[in-house]
Symmetry: C2
Subunit: 359 residues, 2 copies
Amino acid sequence: MLKISKLKRWLIAGIASFAVATSAQAADDKVYRLKLAETWPTNFPVFGDSPRNMAAMAEKMSGGRLQITIDSANKHKSPLGVFDMVRAGQYDMGHSASYYWKGKVPATMFFTTMPFGMTAPEQYAWFYYGGGMELMEKVYSEYNLMSFPGGNTGMQMGGWFQKEINTVDDLKGLKMRIPGFAGEVLAELGAKPTNIPPGEMYTALERRTIDALEWVGPSLDLRMGFHKIAPYYYTGWHEPATELQFLINKRSWDRLPEDLQEILRVSMRAASYEMYIQSYHESAENLAVIDKDYPNVQIKSFPPEVIEAVRGANTKLLTEYTEKDPLIKEILDSQAQYLKKARHWTDVSDKAYLNTIAN
Amino acid sequence: MLKISKLKRWLIAGIASFAVATSAQAADDKVYRLKLAETWPTNFPVFGDSPRNMAAMAEKMSGGRLQITIDSANKHKSPLGVFDMVRAGQYDMGHSASYYWKGKVPATMFFTTMPFGMTAPEQYAWFYYGGGMELMEKVYSEYNLMSFPGGNTGMQMGGWFQKEINTVDDLKGLKMRIPGFAGEVLAELGAKPTNIPPGEMYTALERRTIDALEWVGPSLDLRMGFHKIAPYYYTGWHEPATELQFLINKRSWDRLPEDLQEILRVSMRAASYEMYIQSYHESAENLAVIDKDYPNVQIKSFPPEVIEAVRGANTKLLTEYTEKDPLIKEILDSQAQYLKKARHWTDVSDKAYLNTIAN
């Protein structure tokens, strides 16, 4: 009997040493489970698809060794607490948008989109080839967090308006649901920005409690029904390339073996690009529905005079930020320099094509 | 001794059964080796980066279980034989461009880019959400091949010209290096398209053996030096979104376990999107160099009269294709319908932004 138990021990030792050999070749077989908190409510379209697409790729590519569970805001009850929860390790990952943390860390504001700033391909080029990722790391590493692009909405629309905007005076006293920095910019020109929860926006616009609101673009606006109650839909100035964000607690990342880190990195990168293309598709499809069913909706651009005034207010506020924080100055300088080069290419290529050839 | 050898056999059996158990959980540890033939020469920038980026991601994500070796055209000596070599199983994969196979299978021509057609984000949306992938499968499955987007150059430029193009008459007798379908279109208007190997293009343009040539865009044109010898650089009409191609032999794909199939699929998808952004960056950087060092280069758009004539010739030739082949008609109808919807969104978003807001 002794011999047999010795045999068993040898067998076990054999298995163990084999497991080590396997580990060197194809990592271990341990299942790693990560918990992700998203800012979005349950079943939120497009935005919510991005982390789910990421998690599905990661699970399938890892043969089930990397399992990511996603809690929506309905579950964790803290849509704007994602930064803190991931930082504290309560969640391993988050899916949100960097500009939500501007009250906490002002420099985070500049990694989502900038008013009058870069378009989506320009901004992706800045992130990955123009120094953007390095600057983002500089901002987030202090909080033990890693941040990655998490999906782009493409150009966001400037909003639904009950009245046409012809002059800067039309902005004075305008009650508009437009949160964050863009609201601060319009406030400089006399508008009254408010923040209204998504569930109350339709009624507020219908009953004229507000004169205007901005949400996303046709990809998400259609199901909100605003086209049924507001006649003017304006091209945006404030969010030309809204990039969502994957947040990861650095300790959770460090615990993963190298192959799963790469699976996670590539899944996030692919999901981010993918959301940009999905948004393009959804916007195209939904705009066609609005055109067909609500032909009286007028899609317009703000007049040059209004745009100039808004740009001036934007520049003024940004200058205040750069004067307070050298890191913000570094980020804005990097973006401005990159934008100049990238925009010249955009003007020569896509813009010239769309203006003089494609029609 | 007998006992010890028995022990060894038991140990081996134990290891074998452990290996099977591992297999069920995280696939097997067998190393799969795929050979890829690219159309490009050794060290070809941007284009050649895409399959290498793909292979590096696949290897790292699989912990070394998926190894893809890449042979450049210098090695396999058959840049335009990639379709046949992958079909025959001589290579498992290829990296090329679908329109190179138009002489063999005319319907393949429409999966790279279309003159006057979609821009890169519009075309990606068509591929992945508008039916493009399904049509591509319909064309390629007959040849035991799978085809996937392999990286986008973005807008290609219309070429370097020694003389300004002011009227349609200026195209008559114009000797231009412009291969493929675009050359056929210009021939309809009296131009003399020729194909000249890349290594001879500079000298031909310098010595005026040819009056003009098209290559790619600033991302690749800069190192060719054309800006030193030709004063006019025109925005393109013929390749608004050139998408390269990953080809896979169906049998090679079927041999892979599911997790490695997903690793390969995601690596190709991510590498394809990535090349679009890398191209954007390289074009922006290189255009800035041309601007700075060669300020006399004039970047222009062809006049409306010329564009109208070229568009007419393009439509005429495409109609001849659709009359010959119902599958080509199906592809072109799908693209035209999608373009209409996607372009309306582009006009309302990026185009309006670039024209009225961003400046």
